[in-house]
């Protein structure tokens, strides 16, 4: 029995170890968004964004809680969660993408990430220009992207249309460390 099981166990341990070694995690990634409108500028930050960077497969995955975005004013937070992104129904936004021509050995590189962004239950393909830095055995990834509010079926009442920009700028910064640490 043991003779049959042992090769499987070794294979499982080896593959899981290899995966861990190639996977880096950021538990406190920062994502912020900006809406520049004539009436007022709105900014919100989320400092608890989860991201996993897979060096072997050149992939990145991001997940964030919409309720964890912090606004300057209570009312902005309420409008955002209750009326626009409907956090009770769609509590998370996610992104999964491929880092094109990523070379994990380089100290600094600027690459495109092609992937799928899901907000408010709507998934859109987007491309993001990003800078990736390697410092010792850690990676820092940062950049920004623009998204249109209407692409994600977010309805803004006409009376508030002048308060919120049609295009939102999203900035991000992730500091990854080895999964094993």
């Amino acid at each position: 029995m043991n003779k049959i099981l042992t090769p499987f166990l070794v294979f499982f341990l080896l593959t899981s170890f290899t995966e861990d070694k190639n996977q880096f995690i950021a538990r406190q990634g920062q994502v912020s968004f900006f809406s520049y409108a004539s009436m007022e500028n709105i900014e919100a930050k989320n400092n608890q964004v989860l991201s996993i960077l897979d060096l072997k497969n050149k992939k990145i995955a991001i997940s964030m809680l919409m309720r964890a975005f912090v606004f300057k004013k209570d009312l902005m937070y309420e409008h955002f969660n209750e009326s626009y992104v409907e956090s009770d129904i769609y509590p998370k936004a996610t992104f999964e993408g491929d880092i094109i021509n990523f070379d994990a050995s380089l100290k600094e590189q600027t690459k495109m990430i092609k992937g799928k962004l899901t907000i408010h239950g709507i998934t859109k393909e987007i491309e993001i220009k990003t800078t990736i830095e390697k410092k010792e055995n850690k990676y820092v990834l940062f950049g920004e992207a623009n998204v249109f509010v209407k692409d994600f079926d977010i309805k803004i009442p006409p009376i508030l249309a002048s308060n919120i920009a049609q295009m939102i700028t999203i900035k991000f910064r992730f500091q990854y460390q080895s999964y094993e640490e």
Binding site: I25, R27, Q28, Q30, N47, M64, K92
Partner: protein, 145 residues
């Protein structure tokens, strides 16, 4: 006639005060609440909270998300990444813990925290990714043993 005018003025003033309370006050209200004097809606230890999220995230969200909760746990790490004051609580489950984003008025307390120290954290539960996320946290050191 005089009574009618007084009543109308009273009604207008009442409406102005009410609309001010409902629309203008919330607009200027800051989100960074200090929870020190606010009573928590639930009290739980870190292991039970993480286990509940791992077992049934949706149901646990209905119990705790958006609510002020008090969590007892052990310090894994204190970080100041992105200019935030963060205390990480660990659990027996190696891959999950609790991320506590601490209110700026607690900075002196968190500087003194030691690894494995038992603390009580009161914060607003935001939900679960790989870790439970608590914001605006207040730290109670009474349990410091």
């Amino acid at each position: 006639m005089h009574k009618k005018t007084t009543f109308s003025v009273f009604l207008i003033v009442l409406l102005l005060v009410l609309s001010g309370y409902l629309f203008i006050v919330p607009y200027f209200k800051k989100t960074n609440k200090n929870l020190q004097l606010i009573k928590s809606e639930a009290s739980i230890n870190s292991k039970e909270l993480i286990d509940a999220y791992l077992l049934d995230e949706e149901n646990t969200n209905t119990l705790y998300a958006g609510k002020i909760i008090e969590v007892t746990g052990f310090v894994k790490e204190v970080t100041f990444l992105n200019n935030r004051n963060t205390v990480l609580l660990y659990s027996k489950n190696k891959t999950s813990g609790i991320i506590c984003d601490v209110h700026p008025n607690q900075i002196e307390k968190i500087k003194k925290l030691k690894k494995h120290q038992k603390i009580v954290v009161k914060g607003i539960c935001k939900g679960f990714l790989k870790d439970v996320i608590l914001l605006n946290c207040y730290i109670d050191l009474k349990l410091n043993e």
